[in-house]
Symmetry: C2
Subunit: 139 residues, 2 copies
C-alpha cells in the first residue's frame, strides 16, 4: 500500500490538481481587493453565453475559479453527488457513445480532467496577471 501511495503521489493527475489549487492560492494572495475586478469585462474565452454569471466580469470569473478549487479539494462531496446524479442530462446524451467500453470511458474522462484542469489553471494565472495590470504593478 505504501508503494502504491508513492506511485500516486508522483502521478500527473495529482500534480495537475495540485497545480490548479496552487494557482488559485497565488491568485488569492495577489488579489487583495477582489472588488477591483467588478465590472471589468472578461476578454478571456470562457466559451459561454454572456448571460451566464461566470462570464459577466472578472469578479465573477474570480469567484468561479475559487469555487472549482474548493470542489477539487473536497471531492468527497462529489462522490455522493455522483450517486444521486448519475443520470444527468449530459450523461444521458452520452450513453450511446460511452457505454461501449469501460477502458475507453476511463481514458476519456482522465484525459478530459487533465484538459479542463490545465485550461482552468491558465485562466487563473491570466486573471492574476490582469489584476496586477489593473493596480499598475508589473508581474
Amino acid at each position: 500500500m505504501q508503494s502504491a501511495e508513492a506511485k500516486f503521489n508522483k502521478n500527473s493527475l495529482l500534480l495537475t490538481l495540485r497545480g490548479y489549487s496552487s494557482a488559485v492560492s497565488d491568485m488569492e494572495q495577489t488579489i487583495l481587493l477582489p472588488s477591483l475586478l467588478r465590472d471589468v469585462p472578461s476578454d478571456e474565452a470562457w466559451d459561454c453565453e454572456a448571460t451566464e454569471e461566470s462570464c459577466r466580469d472578472l469578479y465573477s470569473n474570480y469567484l468561479t475559479l475559487k469555487a472549482i478549487r474548493n470542489t477539487v479539494e473536497s471531492s468527497l462531496i462529489l462522490l455522493d453527488d455522483h450517486k444521486a446524479k448519475s443520470h444527468t442530462a449530459l450523461n444521458k446524451t452520452l450513453e450511446p457513445l460511452l457505454d461501449t467500453d469501460p477502458e475507453t470511458l476511463f481514458r476519456f474522462h482522465l484525459r478530459g480532467l487533465f484538459s479542463v484542469m490545465s485550461d482552468l489553471t491558465k485562466k487563473t494565472q491570466s486573471l492574476t496577471v490582469k489584476y496586477m495590470d489593473i493596480i499598475g504593478v508589473a508581474y
Copy 2:
C-alpha cells in the same frame, strides 16, 4: 504545499484510484493460473460488442483490467497522450455540449472518472470471485 498534499491524500478521487489498484493486486495474487479463465464466457455486463477482445472470455477481461490499472498508475503517459489526441472523434462529438462551461466540464469528468473506476473495481472483484469458483475454493 504540505497542507495541500494532506488534503489531496484524503480526497476520494485518490482513494477511488487506489481502491481500484488494490482490487487488481488482490486479483493478481489470487489468480495464480490466469489461463484457467480462457474460454470461460463472461456473463458480466461489459456493455460492449461480443466481437471486442475484452468481451470474449474471462481471460480477456483479466488482461483488460490489468492494463487499465497500469494506466491508472502511470498517468504521466496519458498527459502526453491528451496533447496528441486532444481532438479525438469522441471529443469532436462532444464539443457543442461541453465547450460551454469549464465548471460543468470539470464536474462531468470528475464524476465520470469516479463512476467508471467504481464500476471497474466491482468487475475486478467479481472476476476474482469467479476464479475462486472455478478452482472450487470458497472466497
